[in-house]
Structures are given as C-alpha cells and as structure tokens.
C-alpha cells in the first residue's frame, strides 16, 4: 500500500478518521449522556491500556452505539451503567483484551509456564498425568 510508509510515521489514517467520526457522534449527544461517555471513555482509555488502534476504535464505537441508543430511547444513565460504573467498565473492557498492552505479557507467561512444565523431569510422582 502506497500510504504504508507514511502511516508508520503518523499512525493509521483510518483510525484517525474513525476517531474524528466518534468525536462528532459524541458532540451530538445530550449533555448528561456526553458527560457519561466522557467519563467512561477516560476510564476505558486508562484501564484498557489498549495499544492496537483498530481495537481501541472498535471499543469506542461500541460505546458510542450504547450511549447513543440510550439517549435516543431516553434510558436513564443509571439504568445503562448500573449501580457500579467501574464494574460495568471492567466488564466492557474485557471484550477488547486482545488489544491490551498486558496481552503480550499474558502470552509470555503462558509460554514460560509451558516451557517450565516441559522441563520437569518425567520420573517420580505422576502429578498432572491422570
């Protein structure tokens, strides 16, 4: 792709376009819903630590779908987010875990333990083999 070299410098142009569209959708929301989505966006950004741009944008678009829909239906914010907004946000983030920074470390831990288990001497007690 011709634009590939420049995107290495600027980041994905497609993701930037999606971000601008997301911001425009937010601007259309009634004030209370905008306050809520800003708060959720902030938490999801910090707690999500998502390093893949396309996954991050998918998360924000899914969030916008939820909040826009609620605003259109007149669903109260408390009914959308529930008594515990953090609980909701964490559950929401879990759907995008393959884009998280920590995912690389998760894979590394699994691989290391696989290796460690493989290094175990196979003689002696038969723990683990049933």
């Amino acid at each position: 792709m011709a634009a590939a070299w420049i995107e290495r410098v600027t980041g994905s142009l497609e993701d930037k376009k999606r971000w601008r569209q997301y911001k425009a959708r937010k601007d259309q929301l009634p004030a209370a819903y905008r306050t809520a989505i800003d708060g959720l966006e902030r938490y999801l950004t910090y707690a999500g630590a998502i390093v893949k741009g396309d996954v991050l944008m998918q998360m924000m678009e899914d969030l916008a779908d939820l909040v826009e829909g609620a605003a259109a239906d007149g669903t109260p914010i408390r009914d959308v987010v529930g008594d515990d907004p953090v609980e909701f946000a964490e559950m929401f983030i879990a759907n995008y875990s393959d884009g998280q920074w920590i995912n690389k470390e998760r894979a590394r831990l699994v691989e290391t333990i696989d290796r460690a288990a493989g290094e175990e001497p196979s003689t002696g007690s038969d723990h683990g083999s049933r």
Binding site: L66, A72, D79, G82, F88, M91, F92, A94
Partner: protein
Amino acid sequence: MSKQMTEMLKGTLEGIVLAVLATRSAYGYEITARLREEGFSDIAEGTVYALLVRIEQRGLVDVEKVPSEKGPPRKVYSLNPKGSAYLEEFWLNWSFLAAHIDRLRQQVHPQNDHPQDEGE
C-alpha cells in the same frame, strides 16, 4: 444488587442471555427488559450490551442491523447453531454445579429436604 449476587451473575449471565435468545430473536433492550421481567430487576442495560458484544465476537449469535428512527441502527440478535451448542453445554455445567453445591448444602443442613424452596 449485592456484591455476591453480582459476582455469581458474572459467570452465568452469558448462559442466561443465550437462554432468552433461544425462545426468540430480540433487540438488546428487549433482552434487558425480559431479564427484568424474569426477576433480574437490577440488571444494567450496559451489562447486557457488553455481553452481547462478547457473544457476537465469539460467533454465538447472528446479528441483523435494523435502521432506527432515532439513534444508531439497532441490532437484532438470533441464536445460531454454535450458540445453541454453547447453551447446551451451559445447561450441563449448570446442572453439575447446582447438584454439587446442593449436595454440599445437604451436608451442612441435612434436615432440609427442599433447600431450593427457602430464602426467596
């Protein structure tokens, strides 16, 4: 909703939502409304939405986008064969859990023959 109830629901809500969809296809808000009717009165719409995102990602439902008069297009969710198979597995696991937990409870309260009838 108590913290304990929230934690318990976390592991089972996926199966509960699939069970709702097994009777018929539905919009997200219909699923939330249905769950409230069924007694899950404190369930947040966002919680159900997050679950629907998950089961869609995992290919357990088919999704049709329907334009809406107000707001974004709404998704109609239907259980597909993969979702049905997953729901069957959920029922098996649920029966296993319920039976084994009940057996533990019988050991603690052996005099109670119908432990599931109390505490409502």
